[in-house]
């Protein structure tokens, strides 16, 4: 190593070292001269003799330099210089080359950054490899939510082998810190959460054992670094202060380390509270398994891991036996099948990853294909350059350069090109990456954040991709260009002796094949998106704004929903307002056991339905048509007889499709109170476009005790309404209610199509880029063929060939290439379509529409690309063409 350092130091000061050596040799000579003079020689004679004696000074210097740098290094720096000179002399070529490769490399860097953030990055905690999390899996379903009781069972079972901890999903909630309410992303976590996860504090401390059970004093709270900076400007005195949440003061004990976001990728909690502080929660939250609100994780040392897994599995078995006793028929089936899955959590857990993991991998594959095409493109360009440089290279072989040396030189050139392109690509990814990502991921809930950045891994990845690209696009042309024998090339005028090469057209055909594959895949993804987007929702998603609301618990104030609705309907631009307990498309759901009058359940069947509590104008606002009976009214309140509405699937399942109006249904296994069904609502999608039709039961909000979580406003399209303006007005109308999120219903529906949309966009954009690149390649190959045959074409025109005949002559050449690409591309498309079948919805992988569209597009663009040079060929002036020879 020290030797290497000395080498580097020498190289750094090579000029000076060279000069020093020169000086030293001169001193050597002078000393020799002095000695000769002392021996009695005359000055002039001594001078002459000493010069003669010195021998080959240059050789001494050269060899000294070699001693330090070695021959390799010297030659490499020479290659680099030649390469740079080559690119500076051919600015047009360099620019096009860099641009093409930069698109390919930049796309890879950008998608890699997303993949890194989503799939590769480890959690920023101590020894993340020791972390794991629990899931229960049935044959068709996977669930990572457990009840508090299950968490406790797991924890005590694993004691001594693993530390088990738990956390709830991050939610936006209102809190009070010196003054008015503000919305933060709050996360309930177990007391041992921070210590087991291996997190550190940036300030103060993180709560630990003292938060394990409800303590008499104020419960503790930890802030995120980002929130602390944003809200308190990084003021250290915040530690020891307090905040109020749900009427309860909490002491802020510390701030978590910068970049710590907990265990769930995509969540950005701002406030961590110990779950034992949830003293107001109903008892079903703490016991039984009806409320699964916790993710259960653990940390075990490698040596203990296997044992920890065994005891956890045993605990799960016991849990299952317990639950089987209280389960419905369908639940029982699922329970019997369910298994505990213990999965590594070194990268955190992420529902986002489950949704977007496969699409991101597909996107990576797509941009990798684009890079391949870009490389093939550069290779064709370099091949052509190689032809133009045949004489130069032949000359260098002539004066003694070895072929290996020339190949290395050409590869060095490709490497320079790729590295420059890589740098530009990184810049492109940095500039557009975040914007593209924002566009691709738009519509994630605001508690979800994913911030991919071009970190060290992305830069290393880009550098390796660049090097790989340079080898891919440089190797073939380098061997081809240096293959030339010396004599024939130097003899001929332009190096036209060899027949047309198959290499250039072959590369173009390959590019076309890959493009066709990408186009087909893009077509399939777009069709999937279209199918899903066109699926009937059952309601009208336009012109509706959704506000996630929550009570702020201002002391001494009771929320008046009636007042809120009245105030909201008075706002300008608002046509109608309604409330519901559960939101549409991502607002959670409520499933309940029911008793239906006149319906005898099959043995062991426990009738269930989805349910929601809604205010009178809900159906009007959401555009859900009432098919029979009536809608709820303001008089369906606490004092009035209980009523309900059901949807068509409900009526079909429990009433055999008969009109349900006038029938009765009760909530719960043994309903205390039967509700009269007053209306029948048409079926709709409730949470997801892809969901099966589900039975739905509505109860009036005024007869339902729980909190209303979503406010829907139907707004008029002609008056522009700004959600922020509405927000302000709403806050004034009902100060005890806080709005934590606003979104249009349309955006909410679109959000459920996020993975499909992302893949469709990436595939669409990049398949078009690929097609463009491939056709530029085709244009180049056909143009080159024309330039080789100019004379022949001139002769043909001279002896009477028509323009059409000449164009056909040239196009035939292009058609061959396109045909080859098409055949290979169709085969590849078929294979790829099979591979991505899992990501398609409502579209068979062999969808003829997608295939046909891809082929038509490819052939059309390719024909245009080949037609331009063909047209030029037809205009060849026969006299000029013949004269040029």
């Amino acid at each position: 190593v020290r030797k290497l350092l000395r080498r580097l130091a020498y190289w750094w000061r090579r000029r000076r070292n060279d000069r020093e050596l020169e000086l030293e040799l001169e001193v050597h000579r002078l000393l020799h001269r002095d000695a000769l003079e002392q021996g009695g020689l005359a000055h002039a004679e001594a001078d002459h003799a000493s010069r003669r004696a010195l021998g080959n000074v240059l050789l001494a210097r050269e060899e000294s330099r070699e001693a330090w740098l070695g021959r390799r290094l010297d030659e490499i720096s020479q290659d680099l210089r030649y390469g740079l000179r080559f690119f500076l002399r051919n600015p047009g070529f360099s620019l096009v080359g860099v641009l093409i490769l930069a698109i390919g490399i930049g796309a890879n860097a950008g998608v890699f950054a997303v993949m890194d953030a989503l799939l590769i990055k480890r959690l920023p905690v101590e020894r993340p490899a020791e972390l794991f999390f629990l899931r229960q899996r049935t044959s068709n379903n996977s669930d990572d939510a457990f009840s508090y009781q299950a968490f406790g069972d797991f924890r005590s079972a694993a004691r001594g082998h693993a530390e088990i901890f738990a956390s709830a999903r991050t939610e936006a909630v209102p809190i009070f810190v010196d003054g008015g309410p503000e919305t933060v992303h709050r996360k309930w976590v177990s007391g041992n959460y921070f210590s087991a996860l291996g997190a550190h504090a940036a300030l103060g401390r993180l709560f630990a054992a003292e938060a394990e059970r409800p303590a008499p004093g104020e419960p503790v709270a930890v802030l995120s670094e980002a929130y602390w900076q944003r809200r308190f400007g990084g003021d250290a005195s915040v530690v020891g202060g307090s905040l109020v949440y749900m009427n309860r003061p909490y002491t802020i004990v510390g701030v978590a380390a910068r970049g710590f976001f907990g265990e769930t990728l995509g969540e950005a909690p701002e406030l961590w509270l110990p779950l034992t502080a949830r003293t107001d929660a109903p008892s079903y939250v703490w016991s039984g398994h009806s409320n699964t609100w916790l993710r259960v994780l653990g940390r075990a040392r490698d040596a203990e891991r296997a044992r920890a897994e065994r005891v956890l599995e045993a605990a799960f078995e016991r849990l299952r036996e317990q639950r089987l006793g209280q389960a419905s028929l369908t639940e029982r089936q699922a329970l019997r099948e369910s298994r505990l899955v213990i999965q590594g959590a070194s990268g955190g857990i992420s529902p986002l990853r489950d949704n977007l993991g496969a699409p991101v991998v597909v996107a990576m594959g797509i941009v990798a294909c684009v890079l391949l095409i870009a490389c093939a493109n550069i290779a064709t360009l370099l091949l052509e350059r190689g032809r133009a440089r045949e004489r130069e290279l032949a000359l260098r072989i002539g004066i003694g350069a070895s072929r290996a040396r020339l190949v290395r030189q050409l590869l060095t050139e490709a490497l320079i090109l790729a590295l420059v392109a890589g740098t530009v690509g990184l810049l492109l990814a940095q500039l557009f990456g975040s914007r593209l990502l924002a566009a691709a991921l738009s519509g994630l809930p605001n508690t979800v954040r994913l911030s991919p950045s071009l970190g060290v891994r992305a830069v290393v990845f880009t550098a390796s991709v660049s090097v790989l690209a340079s080898v891919l696009c440089g190797l073939l042309p380098a061997f081809r260009a240096t293959r030339a024998g010396l004599a024939p090339t130097l003899k001929t005028s332009a190096g036209l002796t060899r027949g047309a090469s198959w290499l250039g057209p072959g590369l173009v055909a390959a590019q076309l094949a890959v493009s066709l594959t990408l186009l087909t895949a893009a077509g399939l993804f777009v069709r999937t998106l279209q199918t899903l987007a066109a699926a009937p929702l059952g309601f009208d998603p336009d012109g509706v704004l959704l506000f996630q609301v929550t009570t702020t618990n201002v002391p001494g104030r009771e929320v008046s929903y009636r007042q809120l609705l009245e105030a909201a309907e008075r706002l300008p631009g608002v046509r109608a307002a309604s409330l519901s307990a559960f939101g549409s498309f991502g607002g959670g759901s409520w499933g309940n056991r029911i008793t239906v009058e006149g319906y005898t359940p099959a043995p062991e069947e426990l009738p269930r339905t989805y349910a929601n509590a809604v205010s009178p104008r809900f159906f009007e606002v959401m555009g859900l048509p009432v098919a029979a009976g009536r809608s709820f009214t303001a008089s369906d309140d606490k004092g009035a007889p209980g009523v309900a509405m059901v949807n068509q699937t409900f009526a079909a399942r429990f009433f055999g499709g008969e009109n349900p109006v006038g029938r009765h249904v009760g909530l719960g296994r043994t309903a205390e109170r039967m509700l009269e069904i007053v209306g029948l609502v048409k079926d709709a999608k409730y949470e997801d476009v892809r969901e099966e039709q589900r039975p739905m039961l509505y109860v009036p909000a005024l007869q339902y005790g729980g909190a209303q979580r979503e406010l829907q406003l139907s707004v008029t399209p002609d008056v522009p309404v700004s959600p922020t303006g509405l927000l302000k007005n709403l806050a004034q109308a009902e100060p005890s209610l806080a709005v934590v999120d606003v979104m249009s219903l349309r955006a909410r529906v679109d959000r459920s199509l996020l993975p499909e949309r992302m893949v469709a966009r990436v595939a669409g954009v990049f398949s078009l880029i690929a097609l463009t690149l491939a056709c530029v390649g085709l244009y180049g190959v056909v143009s080159y063929a024309v330039s080789l045959r100019t004379t022949e074409i001139g002769v043909r025109i001279a002896i009477g060939a028509t323009a059409g005949q000449v164009i056909w002559l040239v196009l035939r050449k292009g058609a061959l290439v396109v045909g080859a690409g098409l055949l290979a591309g169709l085969a590849a498309s078929w294979l790829v379509a099979k591979a991505i079948a899992g990501l398609l919805h409502g579209v068979p992988p062999t969808d003829p529409g997608a295939f046909a569209a891809a082929v038509v597009l490819l052939v059309g663009v390719a024909a245009a690309a080949a037609y331009v040079p063909a047209r030029r060929a037809a205009r060849v002036d026969p006299i000029a063409a013949l004269r040029s020879e």
């Binding site: 020290r2 030797k3 000395r6 080498r7 020498y10 020093e20 050596l21 000086l23 030293e24 040799l25 001193v27 050597h28 002078l30 000393l31 020799h32 002095d34 000695a35 003669r52 004696a53 010195l54 021998g55 080959n56 000074v57 050789l59 001494a60 210097r61 060899e63 000294s64 070699e66 001693a67 330090w68």
Partner: protein, 112 residues
């Protein structure tokens, strides 16, 4: 030209060994090394600059010698080479190697 120098097919590393040995007695500049070599070997070993200076550079690279500019006889500034501790160690080990090798060669010459 035409001047007898260290034969080119001298065992590799021998020149370096000789230089190290000469420097063991004190710092010398390049010319001094050449002169001393000539003297000590009774004019048998004469080293040319094109061998001497690359050899010195190799020794510098390996850290066996260090170089410093200083005043020489006749008031010229010359570059003086000094043995480093590493160089001293290297000299000792190379010397043993060399003796072994020479011994082996002589054995072959005497018996074969």
């Amino acid at each position: 030209m035409g001047k007898p120098t260290v034969p080119p097919d001298l065992l590799p590393g021998t020149l370096e060994l000789l230089i190290l040995k000469l420097l063991a007695r004190g710092a010398l500049h390049g010319y001094g090394i050449a002169q001393r070599l000539k003297q000590v070997s009774d004019d048998v070993l004469q080293v040319g600059e094109s061998s001497l200076y690359p050899a010195l550079q190799r020794l510098l690279l390996n850290g066996y010698v260090s170089a410093e500019w200083g005043a020489s006889e006749n008031n010229r500034r010359a570059r003086y080479y000094t043995l480093t501790p590493d160089g001293r160690k290297q000299l000792a080990s190379e010397r043993d190697e060399f003796n072994k090798l020479i011994g082996a060669i002589q054995k072959v010459l005497q018996t074969a």
